[in-house]
């Protein structure tokens, strides 16, 4: 089944939240289909967590609505939460309880019948060695793992995660990325994951939405991301002026960029830099540097956010 034929699992319709005169989330429309990993990207304070809290019924919207599995979200939507796991902001656990006790408490609250679910999720999140440790003694990374374990203990079909990579070391970040990909690809789980780091989200998400100042300013498939990013060919020559004139005669517009390099945005040049090199050499202009450069993800993110009204 392709994406279009998959049913929507998470939807928002003109979802809005105002706190007094401040609009934290402004008429957001999102749809996440079954099996998708939706990366919800935004700077700190953009409205990610408020949106997530509304998706989880922790905050009531000022207008609009959120739906999960077709059911309208509200504080009393108990059916929805049976199949939903979540993690909101920094996960906190009961400090005087051990890792195992915290998970046992969640197992009972989630009505998971199998007592082995606790051991199973500890294995999955590499927490077994800390099972007898009180939660207050855990490192930030292991607290994050415990938060994720609580979100996963009932093998949910829907996962809503707010900055799940916070506090994790690089190996932990890779593990979580692999875990989410596995859940989506092999178990058909739907994942909604927020982050303020595009580079992180782009490695795992199949679809990306960018929120800024409460508004959804961009939404795209992960494959579109490459097309959206600025690409250019950077050219280093001794005489930029002569090279620019020559390239202009050949139909390529070369402008002066940083550090005295020439910049060509023409995709024919970017895709075949060897042709440009040959032309220049034959004309007696020998480049000392030729580099196909792609805008990095964070620059792209800031550019999108900037065009939507400046970084916060």
């Amino acid at each position: 089944m392709n994406r279009v034929t998959m049913p929507n699992v998470i939807e928002t319709h003109d979802l809005t939240k105002k706190f007094g005169r401040f609009t934290a989330v402004d008429t957001i429309n999102i749809s996440v289909r079954k099996g998708e990993i939706y990366g919800f990207l935004g700077l700190n304070g953009a409205g990610k967590t408020t949106t997530i809290r509304m998706l989880l019924g922790m905050i009531g919207p000022s207008s609009g609505e959120a739906r999960i599995d077709g059911k309208k979200v509200s504080a009393g939507s108990l059916d929805i939460w049976k199949s939903t796991g979540y993690l909101v902001e920094v996960p906190y656990s009961y400090p005087e309880l051990t890792v195992r006790e915290n998970l046992e408490a969640m197992r009972r609250l989630r009505a998971v019948a199998d007592p082995k679910a606790v051991d199973s999720v500890m294995d999955r999140l590499a927490l077994s060695q800390y099972s007898a440790r009180k939660a207050r003694t855990l490192s930030l990374g292991n607290s994050q793992r415990l938060g994720l374990a609580k979100a996963l203990i009932h093998n949910p079909d829907i996962l809503i995660l707010d900055e799940p990579a916070n506090g994790l070391d690089p190996a932990g970040i890779v593990e979580i990325r692999e875990l989410l990909t596995d859940l989506a690809q092999n178990r058909g789980a739907t994942v909604f994951v927020s982050s303020h780091i595009l580079g992180e989200v782009s490695k795992v998400a199949t679809r990306i939405g960018i929120i800024h100042r409460g508004r959804l300013v961009r939404e795209m498939d992960a494959t579109e991301l490459d097309r959206e990013r600025k690409r250019r060919l950077l050219l280093g020559v001794r005489d930029p002026s002569a090279a620019s004139d020559f390239l202009s005669q050949k139909g390529f517009r070369a402008t002066l960029a940083e550090n005295g390099f020439l910049e060509i945005l023409d995709s024919a040049a970017i895709d075949k830099p060897d042709n440009i090199n040959s032309m220049l050499v034959q004309a007696g202009i020998v480049p000392f540097m030729l580099k196909a450069d792609e805008e990095d993800l964070e620059s792209y993110f800031l550019r999108v956010v900037g065009s939507a009204g400046g970084a916060a």
Partner: protein, 262 residues
């Protein structure tokens, strides 16, 4: 009630693992023992001879026999109970906000009504255990120190008054839970408890006729511990008292259910 049993188990686990449990039991046991010791001192004025403070305390006890000791224990549970039971309730409800664990309780297959009810239930059990601790510690100390005037016929009426006083005081913790929610932590509810304690004293002393309309004075009026100078509670007192508890309980449920949990 959806998931009440699970919620109750989880609440009991949190209480069993907390230092608050052993701490409050120790404090209530200590108070019971000190009460018994004061009875002993009242019987032996030579001990308190050099301390004016101690003399004042023991003279307030009365004759230093079992009837005055029973009265003393009832007054203790009425006054110190408000504080102790209130702190326990503040902790049960307020810690979820202070420890920022409340978000784990909001999107579960267990209803928020069940979560709140389980918290009230565990608070009631805990507070009853504290009242029993104070009673047992006081009685054992009194018996061990041979406080005079023991009579089997006095015990049952005393136990009835003590139990009634304890339960009526514990039930008044319902508004404390609401304040813990609105205040999102311990501080506001503890402040609220102190305020009710002060107001109860002020109303009892300064406006005795108004005491029957002040819910926190109600347990003392019903138990008779307030003395014959204060009016006996009538239907209006019962109505105000029950409405206060109901408002506290339903207000807490409504707050957990409908407030924005940001």
């Amino acid at each position: 009630m959806n998931g009440f049993g699970s919620a109750l188990w989880v609440e009991s686990l949190k209480v069993r693992r907390s230092k608050m449990l052993i701490g409050t039991v120790a404090v209530f046991a200590f108070i019971g023992i000190v009460m018994g010791l004061l009875m002993f001192v009242a019987q032996h004025p030579e001990i308190s001879g050099r301390s004016a403070t101690l003399s004042a305390k023991t003279s307030a006890i009365g004759k230093g026999d079992w009837p005055s000791f029973f009265g003393f224990l009832v007054q203790s549970i009425l006054a110190l109970g408000v504080m102790g039971f209130g702190i326990v309730t503040s902790w049960i409800f307020g810690r979820e906000f202070s420890d920022r664990t409340v978000k784990d309780l909001l999107a579960l297959p267990v209803s928020r009504f069940a979560i709140v009810s389980a918290k009230f239930a565990i608070g009631f059990i805990w507070n009853i255990a504290l009242a029993a601790t104070l009673l047992a510690a006081g009685m054992i100390t009194g018996l061990a120190l041979h406080v005079p005037g023991w009579s089997g016929g006095l015990v049952w009426p005393f136990l009835e008054v003590f139990t009634k006083s304890a339960i009526l005081t514990i039930l008044l913790c319902a508004p404390v839970a609401l304040v813990a929610g609105v205040g999102r932590g311990y501080l506001l509810p503890v402040g609220f408890v102190i305020l009710t304690l002060i107001l109860t004293q002020l109303v009892g002393v300064g406006m005795p006729l108004a005491a029957q309309y002040f819910p926190w004075a109600f347990p003392a009026l019903v138990s008779g511990a307030a003395g014959s100078a204060l009016p006996h509670p009538g239907p209006a007192s019962w109505t105000i008292y029950c409405a206060t508890i109901l408002l506290g309980f339903l207000g807490t449920v409504a707050w957990w259910r409908y407030a924005d949990h940001v």
